[in-house]
């Protein structure tokens, strides 16, 4: 994983991306007990704003990675044995990347999306595996409830969360 993170730091240095953060299951795993997953989700903020654009061009990034010899396996790019999914950030994800926690993984600087934003993102996708991760985050990580409420309200996810809690808590 260290190799993959180094590559994203390099993309940042080269000016191909403005910023990035680890999201998805690996980010959740930073805050909870370990669980099985296969891919590393990386949310990127492109140098040029993509808001409102119907087409997001990732070709320069893909070309750059390809030129470095990394192979594509379906929708993943495999970097040093780790399958990576790259997501260009939408407004919620952008905010999550900007507010992500700076950390180190085996001496490599990186950013990890915080539990509050992860809950919002998992809630939005809402698959069974996402709901399980919300459960884990609520049980095992420190949640800033006010921050969570603010995010959920801003992105119209409060009602979805209320329904989730109702089912989860059985009230």
């Amino acid at each position: 994983m260290k190799g993959a993170l180094k590559v994203f730091n390099e993309l940042k240095r080269e000016g191909l991306i403005k910023d990035y953060a680890i999201g998805g299951a690996i980010a959740a795993l930073k805050w909870t007990e370990p669980f099985f997953t296969q891919d590393l989700d990386i949310f990127i903020i492109l140098e040029k704003p993509t808001d409102g654009s119907k087409l997001i061009v990732l070709t320069p990034i893909y070309e750059y990675l390809k030129s470095k010899g990394y192979e594509w396996k379906g929708h993943w790019i495999v970097i040093d044995g780790v399958p990576v999914d790259i997501f260009p950030a939408d407004p919620l994800e952008r905010e999550a990347v900007e507010g992500a926690e700076e950390t180190e993984y085996e001496g490599v600087r990186t950013k990890v999306i915080t539990p509050e934003y992860l809950i919002a993102l998992f809630l939005r996708t809402g698959r069974k595996k996402d709901r399980i991760k919300i459960d884990l985050l609520l049980e095992q990580s420190r949640i800033d409830s006010k921050k969570l409420e603010k995010i959920l309200s801003k992105y119209q996810l409060s009602e979805k969360f209320r329904i989730f809690k109702e089912k989860h808590d059985g009230v």
Binding site: K30, W31, E33, F36, V82, Y105, Q140
Partner: protein
């Protein structure tokens, strides 16, 4: 009847509730492991899924 059942582990006598409580505590402890430790455990899980789960398509991360 079942509720009063006790479980003996070595010199400790536990109720089923004690066991569940300890399990929860263990899960919380695992949640406090370092990121690096958790990734090592994840790779272990990937190996397990690959061999025991006979999931040949599982990619085992190189870390």
């Amino acid at each position: 009847m079942e509720c009063n059942q006790k479980i003996v582990i070595g010199e400790r006598i536990l109720t089923r509730e004690d066991l569940y409580r300890e399990e929860e505590e263990l899960r919380r402890e695992r949640a406090r492991l370092s990121f690096e430790e958790k990734i090592k455990i994840l790779v272990g899980l990937q190996k397990l899924a690959y061999s025991w789960g006979k999931k040949g398509d599982v990619i085992i991360w190189k870390i």
